[in-house]
């Protein structure tokens, strides 16, 4: 069922966008809104970005009233990523904290694009749909955000000659 299938990603999106304790309400509202406007759905368009776009907007409504969005937090005692991915980077604690701190200093729009592209691991096209931006803006905003982060924390693994 649709709700079951998309709850996890909708909830994760809401939390990462700073909805905090309101994340559950954001998710509920988003689904209700999504179904209520299903007739506006363009047949053939993918559902997930459509839903996530609603989540982004709902989360904005919830966080607007507050001065600050709930900060991104690391899982308490998070082990380096346990996923058995050969490409996996095991970030050490210091590096992780520095990177996260750097992300928090980014302008809002940069944080949005970093959240979509990397924390949620959405593609460029899907990010464009979710944020309602032209694809070119996603691309340029992403590289600008990465540039800013790189300026703050540098790049890991630059020891490889010719990198």
């Amino acid at each position: 069922m649709l709700v079951t299938r998309y709850t996890a990603v909708a909830h994760r999106t809401a939390v990462l966008l700073g909805a905090g304790a309101d994340a559950e309400d954001v998710v509920q509202d988003s689904f209700v809104k999504a179904f209520g406007t299903l007739h506006r759905f363009r047949d053939g368009a993918p559902f997930r970005p459509w839903l996530l776009r609603i989540v982004v907007n709902q989360a904005k409504n919830f966080t607007r009233g507050r001065r600050r969005r709930a900060a991104l937090e690391l899982r308490a005692g998070a082990e380096p990523d346990p996923l058995p991915d050969p490409e996996q980077l095991a970030l050490d604690e210091l590096r992780r904290d520095a990177l996260l701190a750097a992300v928090r200093t980014l302008p809002d729009k940069d944080q949005l694009v970093v959240t979509c592209r990397f924390f949620l691991d959405l593609g460029e096209e899907e990010t464009a749909r979710v944020l309602g931006w032209p694809r070119g803006s996603v691309k340029s905003r992403t590289s600008r955000a990465l540039g800013r982060l790189r300026a703050q924390v540098g790049e890991l693994g630059r020891e490889v000659a010719g990198g």
Partner: protein, 232 residues
């Protein structure tokens, strides 16, 4: 770019996101209480689609979104205008000698209600639907029973904006009775609607038992169809 991107993805997986709550019930409850305004879509004909599990998994997300809207087993009910109905629905069906042969062909074990007597026809449709027919008799109209594979759980069973569908009890499992005439369209394993298969179907009861989806079609009230269905 690639390195920092990978680091950020790794970081993303370690961010503190509490487990997702189960909002299914709440969403369902909120959808079930109808909004004040009525949209004209509610007056449209019901379209019932036959969908098999593989088809459901194969359909693109948006199609799935609409299909999932109201589904029981391998049948998806949509509230929208149906496709035009061609004079002769085009589906490949093959008569078989009996239910045993149908079972060998499809793996579906169908035990029709004894009350209906021996069937007049047994068809295997598109190699994955067993369709059993009884001609009209003195005490009942023509009856057709279709059995096919499908997901065992109904979706949005309380979602009652579909005014023409009512929930009935089929020997302890939930079933849906679609009282009015509606278009019936076959969806192939690739998830493609075969518009050419559209036909107008009469009152139908749909339910799922033991992983098999059944649709029992006959011009009978819900209670009589449910009684027949319960004996399957």
């Amino acid at each position: 770019m690639a390195d920092l991107g990978r680091e950020l993805r790794a970081l993303g997986r370690q961010l503190d996101v509490p487990p997702a709550p189960d909002v299914t019930r709440a969403v369902r409850a909120r959808l079930a209480s109808p909004p004040a305004r009525r949209r004209p879509v509610l007056r449209y004909a019901l379209v019932v689609l036959l969908v098999l599990l593989s088809a459901v998994l194969a359909v693109p997300p948006v199609r799935a979104a609409v299909l999932d809207f109201f589904r029981i087993g391998g049948v998806s009910v949509r509230s929208e205008p149906g496709p035009p109905v061609p004079p002769t629905p085009a589906l490949s069906s093959r008569p078989v000698a009996d239910l045993q042969e149908a079972e060998r062909a499809t793996g579906l074990r169908v035990r029709p209600p004894a009350a209906l007597g021996p069937p007049d026809s047994v068809l295997v449709v598109e190699g994955r639907v067993v369709s059993v027919g009884w001609r009209a008799s003195a005490d009942r109209p023509e009856v057709r029973l279709d059995a096919f594979d499908g997901l065992p759980e109904p979706i949005f069973e309380k979602y009652l904006r579909f005014r023409d569908a009512v929930e009935v009890d089929v020997g302890g499992v939930p079933g849906w009775y679609v009282g009015g005439p509606h278009e019936l369209v076959y969806v192939d394993p690739g998830g493609v609607r075969r518009e050419s298969s559209a036909r107008l179907a009469g009152p139908t009861l749909i339910w799922v038992r033991g992983g098999t989806t059944y649709r029992l079609e006959a011009d009978l009230p819900a209670t009589r169809l449910a009684a027949l269905a319960a004996s399957i």
